[in-house]
């Protein structure tokens, strides 16, 4: 503890240099925080995706054509299945074609929300079930278009209704958020039965079924049992949990790991060299002072630690500052992947890296300081 003032004065011996090193390290850790945070954040999001929620879709074409609604009863009878909900999807837009809005038609049965990743207030769930033309939109879309509860929302789609119109109108009864990290902030939930009875073609079909299983550990065998139901029929199914789907989606992003590692590696390499040079220079300039310390009784060991601790303090402070900054800008950088948060583990790893950086870059200068021979050091100046 008594060495603290000594370390402190060592740090501020040349304030300009210390501040610049501090800034350089901070900036590097801003980048580290954002990149590493994003990589870890995505991994966490995949892990957080529900393994007990299965999506049953057509094996042939996931996106485009669907499954018969009649499959519903068969799915319900599969052992281990807790809840089955039909889901129909169709594209639409609000006012202008650029304002895309995905219409998700669901059946507001009892407990239907258990088979989805949506968060909806209970009274709005109730309001949604009460009216056939009721709709819930994402909070994001409601804010963007200034929609309020009670608003009548006309959406234009390619689907023709029995009245011969391609405009579909719904009454807004609430908003929801989606905890799934699949892209798409513009979604609207509507009543499946209302929609299905009002459309001209493709009636009694769904895009997919959401199935909640009773026991997440049984999800794989339940999925297999479901797919066996329709084997060799004209509508073979493929059943996957949303965690598996999330994993596939992350794989689509591609070589994220390589990119993050390459950039972080390049940043740290440049940083390491910069700080090491500066520490070396600092020790060289302080040769007489360090020699004086030794003269008054400091051991080699103490001088070594003194230089090392100085570097560690500066690096940790700078890294903490950089990581704090990256946490602050994270929501902006994370707009690429919706709803991501800075994982605490990244901060811990970052601080550990800062210590390693300080130790590696200061080891050589500290060793040099420790090995200083008092007589020659003082004689040089």
């Amino acid at each position: 503890m008594k060495y603290l003032p000594l370390i402190w004065s060592g740090i501020w011996r040349k304030p300009g240099r210390t501040i610049l090193i501090f800034l350089q390290v901070s900036v590097a850790f801003v980048l580290f925080g954002v990149l590493q945070g994003m990589k870890t954040g995505i991994e966490h999001a995949v892990q957080a995706a529900r393994p007990d929620l299965l999506i049953v879709h057509s094996r042939q074409d996931f996106i485009f054509s669907g499954l018969p609604l009649g499959l519903l009863e068969h799915l319900r009878s599969v052992p281990g299945v807790k809840l089955v909900e039909p889901v129909e999807l169709f594209g639409s837009y609000y006012q202008k074609p650029e304002n895309g809005m995905l219409i998700i038609a669901v059946r507001p049965d009892r407990n239907w929300t258990d088979a989805f990743t949506f968060n909806i207030a209970p009274e709005q769930v109730a309001a949604f079930a009460k009216s056939r033309t009721a709709a819930l939109v994402t909070e994001y879309a409601a804010q963007k278009y200034g929609w309020k509860i009670g608003d009548h929302i006309p959406l234009v789609s390619q689907v023709v209704s029995k009245e011969g119109s391609t405009t579909w109108a719904f009454d807004l009864v609430g908003t929801f958020t989606d905890s799934d990290f699949t892209p798409g902030r513009y979604k609207i939930l509507v009543n499946y039965d209302y929609y299905d009875q009002a459309r001209v073609s493709n009636t009694a079909t769904v895009n997919h079924f959401n199935v909640a299983v009773a026991d997440a550990n049984q999800a794989v065998s339940v999925a297999d049992a479901i797919d066996r139901l329709s084997l060799n029929s004209s509508h073979e199914t493929k059943t996957e949990s949303i965690r598996e789907l999330a994993q596939q989606q992350v794989q689509q992003i591609g070589d994220l790991d390589f990119l993050v590692h390459a950039v972080v590696g390049a940043v740290l390499a440049a940083l390491l060299f910069g700080t090491a040079t500066m520490m070396m220079q600092s020790v060289r300039e302080r040769t007489p002072e360090l020699a004086v310390l030794k003269t008054i009784g400091f051991t080699d060991h103490a001088v070594f630690l003194l230089v090392l601790v100085e570097a560690v303090v500066v690096c940790i402070a700078a890294a903490a500052c950089g990581l704090a900054l990256s946490t602050a800008v994270f929501p902006f950088a994370a707009r690429i992947v919706f709803g991501l948060a800075m994982p605490p583990v990244t901060v811990v790893v970052g601080l550990a890296l800062a210590v390693a950086l300080a130790v590696v870059s200061a080891a050589l200068p500290a060793l040099r300081a420790a090995r200083l021979r008092v007589v020659s050091a003082l004689a040089d100046h």
């Binding site: 240099r17 689509q252 040079t277």
Partner: protein
């Protein structure tokens, strides 16, 4: 003239003494190299993706889709197709038939070679295969598919990237076995594309409409006339875009994302490296205080001292800029990547080298500013009195 002579003399002196300050010089060098390598290779992704999207586009082609709809959402009926064939500006073959191809997309599943990852891409049904195989696209192996027979042809890229596209391979689509009968090259594209007959797909999927129509015009300048006729027919409810514009619109979001990420990372790295450079330059200037003071005492102007230091800083960034660009080129040029389901090669172009070098020189200029100010302000008496 006086200023210039002083400036050059100082610059020569500065650069000659660089060897003595190897650590500081290397700090600048490594910082700039890392920044430029990362920036150039990341920008090379966007350039490569864009070049691929642009490379195989024919300027005399146009894409027609339903108004306000894109891709899978767009529906064009056979009636609309018949009306469209007679619009002005469309090129005709030697039999007098308009060169128009109705295109239908069906999602199709592939498994990546090696990893087995599932990727969706469209199976493309075309009503006129000659349209799709217009040079430079050409068949390299096997034969064309025959209508009605559940046959398909795939690009050579498919064979390399996915399982089950070898000649004679069988693929199930809607419970029906399809056979891969031919391989073709699209030109430069690395994208996997699978082609078949539109009518065969439509009957299998009970569809009666196309997703888009590809039109070949007599000349690129005929687009205006074609588009005017299309818009003048309110019953059609279709919209046309030149193929190049459509290709760019398809890539716009993806490219915007890549460029945003590249410049975001490039800027942060540049800021960090500039701080390192400022530190190094300060110590270089500090080490020269006595020489500078001596020079000032014998009549060198402070303006020349400042200019020489600033220019020195810019020059110190040059080797890093060059090495960074060369490294990006050596390590990543023509490297095949497939982020977000796109497959393309990175492309380190001369333009990117320019950006990298300008980026590095700006780092030198900004980083040299404060140290140059200090060098110019060295107090003659104080510096000469010190040690």
């Amino acid at each position: 003239m006086h200023f210039l002579r002083q400036f050059l003399a100082l610059l020569r002196m500065n650069l000659a003494s660089e060897r003595a300050r190897l650590g500081s010089v290397l700090t600048i060098f490594i910082g700039v190299t890392c920044t430029v390598t990362v920036l150039v290779s990341m920008l090379a992704m966007g350039t490569g993706a864009r070049q691929q999207a642009d490379g195989d586009v024919h300027d005399d082609e146009a894409i027609v889709q339903a108004q306000g709809a894109e891709g899978f959402d767009s529906n064009i009926s056979r009636d609309q197709m018949v009306t469209l064939r007679d619009l002005p500006g469309i090129d005709r073959d030697k039999d007098g038939d308009p060169r128009v191809a109705g295109i239908v997309f069906v999602p199709f599943e592939g498994h990546r070679r090696g990893t087995g990852r599932r990727v969706f891409f469209p199976l493309i049904g075309s009503s006129d295969v000659k349209f799709e195989l217009r040079p430079p696209a050409h068949l390299t192996e096997g034969r064309l598919f025959r209508p009605g027979l559940h046959e398909m042809i795939a690009t050579n890229a498919c064979v390399g990237q996915f399982d089950g596209f070898e000649l004679g391979a069988r693929r199930a689509v809607r419970g029906v076995d399809w056979t891969v009968v031919g391989h073709y090259d699209q030109g430069q594209s690395l994208q996997c594309v699978v082609l078949t007959d539109a009518e065969t797909v439509m009957s299998l999927f009970n569809r009666n409409s196309f997703n888009r129509i590809n039109v070949r015009l007599r000349a690129p300048s005929d687009f205006a006339a074609f588009n005017r006729a299309l818009e003048a027919n309110p019953a059609l409810k279709l919209e046309a875009k030149p193929a190049r514009q459509q290709a760019e619109a398809d890539m716009k979001q993806f490219n915007g994302l890549l460029n945003f990420v590249s410049y975001f990372i490039g800027s942060i790295m540049a800021i960090g490296a500039t701080f390192g450079a400022v530190n190094s330059l300060y110590s270089i200037v500090d080490a020269r205080r006595r020489e500078l003071a001596t020079l000032r005492a014998i009549g060198f102007g402070s303006g020349a001292v400042m200019a020489a230091t600033l220019f020195e800083s810019i020059l110190l960034a040059v080797p890093g800029a060059v090495l960074g660009t060369v490294l990006a080129w050596l390590l990543f040029h023509r490297m095949a990547v497939s982020p977000f389901g796109f497959s393309f090669r990175l492309d380190v172009t001369p333009h990117l080298a320019e950006i990298g070098i300008v980026w590095a020189l700006s780092m030198g200029l900004i980083g040299g500013f404060l140290p140059a100010l200090r060098a110019g302000r060295v107090s003659v008496t104080a510096a000469l009195r010190a040690t």
